[in-house]
């Protein structure tokens, strides 16, 4: 019996490491690609090469990197902060104050989530252009702020929020917004951390909508720049790989930063 447990835990370990290897391998490929020339990459070379500095200098001569990264960071960070506040409030509101009317609205929201974005692009575009907001940070962010997906996420997680905490706070005379800000938000730290990773990542990698509303080189985000580099008649894969590395780095950083929050959350955000 003991042997069986040991064996099964070994199998689990091995499978997890295999999954981890498969997950990470493409990143290794990307990193080693950034150090190779275009021909080496299309030739299937897997080992690191010596073209890293060539690729980097090509990237920085072709791309106004400070401006592009500023755009990406600004949109992703501000957008994430506002999204988290608005959607967690809504998720909390839907779950903690249940009523027939609000439940019905929630059902409609869920259906709206299923409308493909391609079908809404043209009317959205008309709105923003009539409002004179084309080519602005606001245009990139506004349609993403009230992410139905995140409202849904916070509502689901609120189900695990102990109602006794709210009842106790009410007894102590706290107002509803105080309960939300000073009890719910700290208690749900790990929920927020996961949400933040996801929203930041979505905003950072956003493509279709920024593409439609941005019109000048100065306003482009890094994601759009990478796509444009990849569109050459004979694509320079060394350059594209280094651009990919630089475009992926911030999302990985955010994940690593928040991971510690995750661990804190594990130590017992809900007791």
């Amino acid at each position: 019996m003991r042997i069986f447990t040991k064996l099964s835990s070994f199998v689990v370990q091995a499978l997890l490491w295999l999954a981890a290897f498969i997950s990470v391998f493409p990143f290794y490929w990307m990193l080693s690609g950034a150090t190779n020339t275009a021909n080496d990459i299309t030739g299937g070379k897997v080992t690191p090469g010596t073209a890293l500095f060539d690729n980097i200098s090509k990237f920085f001569t072709l791309v106004d990197a400070p401006r592009i990264f500023f755009n990406s960071f600004f949109v992703a960070l501000v957008g994430t902060a506002i999204t988290l506040i608005i959607t967690s409030m809504a998720g909390y509101g839907f779950e903690m104050f249940r009523s027939k009317a609000r439940d019905r609205i929630f059902g409609v929201l869920l259906l709206m989530l299923s409308v493909p974005f391609a079908a809404m692009m043209i009317p959205l575009f008309v709105m923003f252009s009539k409002a004179g907001l084309m080519n602005s940070y606001a245009a990139i962010m506004l349609p993403t702020l009230a992410s139905i997906f995140m409202i849904f996420y916070f509502r689901q997680n609120t189900k695990a929020f102990p109602h006794e905490l709210r009842d106790a706070a009410r007894m102590d005379g706290l107002k509803e917004w105080q309960i939300f800000a000073f009890i719910y938000m700290p208690v749900m730290r790990s929920t927020y951390a996961a949400a933040m990773i996801i929203v930041f990542m979505t905003n950072w990698n956003a493509y279709l909508w920024p593409l439609i509303v941005l019109q000048t080189n100065e306003m482009k985000t890094i994601t759009l720049v990478v796509a444009s580099l990849a569109s050459a008649y004979t694509p320079d894969y060394g350059l594209i790989m280094i651009a990919n590395v630089l475009a992926t780095l911030p999302t990985i950083l955010v994940f690593f930063l928040l991971q510690r929050r995750f661990v804190e959350g594990m130590l017992g955000s809900v007791k």
Binding site: L16, L111, L113, P116, A119, M120, L142, A146, F152
Partner: protein, 297 residues
């Protein structure tokens, strides 16, 4: 008397919490959706449209490409979503074991795929699954196959490739939801069960799964929606010469077809809107079923 005022206050608080989100949703979702509903009754090329009544619905029934896209989309849904949900759940539970060595590294590694940008992801998968790419070379080296697999040329393998790609990208993402939710389960429940001698698999089925039911439902519904709107992968990985859904429409999905109708072919916005409503109706039916199933369990 007091109860009524309290309930009013609560009701008011409920509306205030959801108000900011509702204003934004009203502006940026409801209006465009109404527009698309209206568009779905228009026919014509480009902006020269006229009211066509049910013409677009009739066209759906006679359109072999639509039927191919619908079939592919449903096939992806039925096969990919269960695989992904089960894998994500198993990984989450395994990684939640505090005695597991290298937990942080494993968790990070498995999550990483979903942070890649789409362009990076498609370039990587295309080169790795090329005829003489790393994957085929490895499979031949290990004697699993004799001849390289035409991942992007064979209709069957192209579908397999897309399923693998989506799974690669999104398992870690779903896993994070389960991990976060697992944190909110009181560990003392497990301790008590262990003391009572409940074996591991039973703890999984009787405690973990029921406790995670809301999150499982949540990820299932979202993955269903995501798969029904599947677009990125089939527009990049199985694309050639800027045209997605290859080979021979084997990986054409409804969303890609909408995109083609809007941007690649002669623009027929009205018909594209009609096809998007097919997705909405499918999601409506499937979500309702999933909620029903979740409630009965």
């Amino acid at each position: 008397m007091k109860l009524v005022t309290y309930s009013n206050r609560e009701n008011w608080a409920g509306w205030s919490f959801i108000a900011p989100a509702m204003v934004l949703v009203g502006l940026f979702m409801v209006y465009p959706i109404l527009w698309s509903a209206w568009m779905s009754f228009q026919t014509g090329k480009g902006m020269m449209t006229k009211f066509g009544g049910t013409d677009n619905i009739v066209r759906l029934t006679q359109d072999p490409i639509f039927q191919r896209a619908l079939g592919n989309t449903l096939l992806f849904l039925v096969i990919q979503v269960p695989i992904m949900i089960v894998l994500a759940l198993l990984f989450a539970v395994a990684l939640n074991n505090p005695r597991l060595r290298g937990r942080a590294i494993l968790r990070t590694a498995i999550f990483l795929p979903c942070v890649t940008s789409l362009v990076a992801y498609s370039v990587l998968f295309k080169s790795m699954f090329a005829l003489d790419g790393v994957v085929n070379n490895t499979l031949i080296f290990l004697n699993i196959v004799d001849e390289p697999i035409g991942w992007m040329f064979d209709p069957f393998w192209a579908k397999v490739l897309i399923i693998m790609a989506i799974t690669w990208r999104w398992v870690g993402y779903n896993m994070v939801f389960y991990l976060a939710a697992l944190q909110n389960i009181d560990p003392s429940i497990y301790e008590a069960a262990k003391v009572d001698g409940v074996p591991a698999y039973a703890r999984f089925w009787r405690i973990t799964v029921p406790m995670l039911k809301p999150v499982i439902l949540f990820t299932t519904v979202l993955s269903t929606i995501g798969t029904l709107q599947l677009f990125d992968e089939v527009n990049t990985i199985t694309a050639s010469a800027g045209v997605g859904g290859q080979p021979a429409d084997a990986t054409l999905t409804l969303s890609l077809y909408i995109y083609n109708l809007t941007f690649r072919f002669m623009p027929s916005f009205g018909y594209a809107a009609t096809v998007s409503w097919v997705i909405v109706i499918l999601v409506g039916i499937l979500s309702w079923l999933q909620f029903r199933v979740a409630r009965e369990r």
